[in-house]
Symmetry: D3
Subunit: 134 residues, 6 copies
Amino acid sequence: MSTVLPPENLESNPRVKAVFDDIRATRQTGFINNIWRYLAFDDDLLERTWAEVKAVMATPSDLDPLTKEMLYLAVSIVNNCNYCVHSHTAGAKAKGMTPAQHAEVLKIVALASKTNQLATALQLPTDPEFLMEE
Amino acid sequence: MSTVLPPENLESNPRVKAVFDDIRATRQTGFINNIWRYLAFDDDLLERTWAEVKAVMATPSDLDPLTKEMLYLAVSIVNNCNYCVHSHTAGAKAKGMTPAQHAEVLKIVALASKTNQLATALQLPTDPEFLMEE
Amino acid sequence: MSTVLPPENLESNPRVKAVFDDIRATRQTGFINNIWRYLAFDDDLLERTWAEVKAVMATPSDLDPLTKEMLYLAVSIVNNCNYCVHSHTAGAKAKGMTPAQHAEVLKIVALASKTNQLATALQLPTDPEFLMEE
Amino acid sequence: MSTVLPPENLESNPRVKAVFDDIRATRQTGFINNIWRYLAFDDDLLERTWAEVKAVMATPSDLDPLTKEMLYLAVSIVNNCNYCVHSHTAGAKAKGMTPAQHAEVLKIVALASKTNQLATALQLPTDPEFLMEE
Amino acid sequence: MSTVLPPENLESNPRVKAVFDDIRATRQTGFINNIWRYLAFDDDLLERTWAEVKAVMATPSDLDPLTKEMLYLAVSIVNNCNYCVHSHTAGAKAKGMTPAQHAEVLKIVALASKTNQLATALQLPTDPEFLMEE
Amino acid sequence: MSTVLPPENLESNPRVKAVFDDIRATRQTGFINNIWRYLAFDDDLLERTWAEVKAVMATPSDLDPLTKEMLYLAVSIVNNCNYCVHSHTAGAKAKGMTPAQHAEVLKIVALASKTNQLATALQLPTDPEFLMEE
């Protein structure tokens, strides 16, 4: 089904093993999901992608982990990425998203997409109140 | 610039006036931004759209108002709606989004779009761990 | 504002002139809108694009001209093409789209985009009733 | 495969049953397709979504039912919603879309997406003739 | 799984046979992939689509065949077309794309999508240096 | 027009200055285009984004610089990012893209988007020949 195959004996490559070890340590789980296994077809792509995910998503910051995961899920829905919708729905549930919150994320995504289309269709001029002075 | 014009003497139409009064009361401001003025070219579209925005965004729920607004902003960015990016950036700031949180929303949107493309490019199989049993 | 410039003395190029003459004859107007003027930076691209537009949009077929134009408009909204939203809104109005029909197109585009997002978010299995047997 | 499961004994919930009864009555069929069964994970989302679909799609209006369904299909293709492409292709066929009309919808969607990309790539200025005076 | 079925005895239709013969001759292979078999549900759509693919992709031009195929793949990823990602990944490999080049295409697609979102989120003004004078 | 403002006295911030100095040295120009000036509203976002652009785009690799820039441009068109279409059209021209090559990129982007939509509309099954064995 995929367009590349994960290398065999993935963790015999020390760069891959280092990333996987860091994923396991950061997430405190032994589970390595497919995106990391398949990105391992290119060491550099794997390292850079994990480094960015770790920095943005797994480092304490001004947004709490559940909010970040719901934002990631919302983007994945709008980008229509099936794998990502599955993995980030699971991720958000693991971080505590309740069914009611899940429904709310969906309502916002759906409503925003609807009003986005209306605004585009109308070619709305931006209110001067929304503009910044330079 | 727009593809329809707001009717003249907008609030002489009682259905429009009722919606605008409710917007002002709900948001506690006299400011009616352009999307409502232009949607008034069709009474029904105006009423239904406001009813949904009010129900989803302006009613206490399981997500706090700032989180909801940031989700709306994230969707608007991915949908590439210029008006909406402006209005919901302004809306999120009005609800307390700090510059650091703003930067974080952007980092998540950008990262999610990046990994979404990678997952699509790889045509990743969904991990069985993410699937639900029916 | 554009990324290419229309050639000067556009119609001194006989291939361009032939296309423009055909546009004027087909549409029965002297007005050549910008997409044709700018596509003229490449003869081949201009000829092929007009040939396809003429075949699909300006040739009698199983759908009436207004329906076709509204479909073109709907696609242009979802693809978020500002130029195209303007030109096909104008085109649909020129073919008789009433304000009520315009509002209806917008309602359908907005509703469809909303339910599209919900279906993606839910990763809905397709009902067997919708599938064709091969 | 989905990210939520439809509740068991769906119609033991009176709000769900009321929506399903209305779907059956409106469409004059016993068949409830998956989007309604899965949206039932949240009463409110189910009720609101059906109310809007019924108002826009199943109420006599200025566009005939087949035209509306073809517009819905076109939007679903551009939004790349697999479930929706299947359900609205089936829906349009049920409302009388012939194979020739189906091919025509596809030609328009494909042509419009092509010219949308050209217009974006060229960053075309909008012809003044298309603009409205405010 | 599809929304139309390829006609039976496809090549008994002389228009279809002519296109298939040309595909086989142009590509020097007996393999006709699914898009051509399914597009055959409408003669005209099949003929036009192949004519354009042949003219743009299979005719010597100012870009080499591998570069063209990688551009096609990049567009297919961003448009999130599963079939197309598979077929154009295979096509690019057949034209000589190495694993390292494949990884590079993915890095560029992912990076570009990321910075595209940032530029949209920031609503960046275009630098005057990038604009053309008319 | 933008949603954030570049900080005043940008280069009084040593982290910003370091990035700008590296941009100038890498590109051998004094010109810092707007995306870098505006991303400077968040040090971390600026540093990470430039680091990735430099690694992917400005480091010798298995694809030549013009091919990489054309891929970036193609993605920017499909993502409909106005700023990016302008900046990467300018970038590709600076790296030697001829008008004929520019036209070819546009033809491929337009054709690919067209066939992408057809493949989605048909919900084409992937040919087994395109699939990899795992």
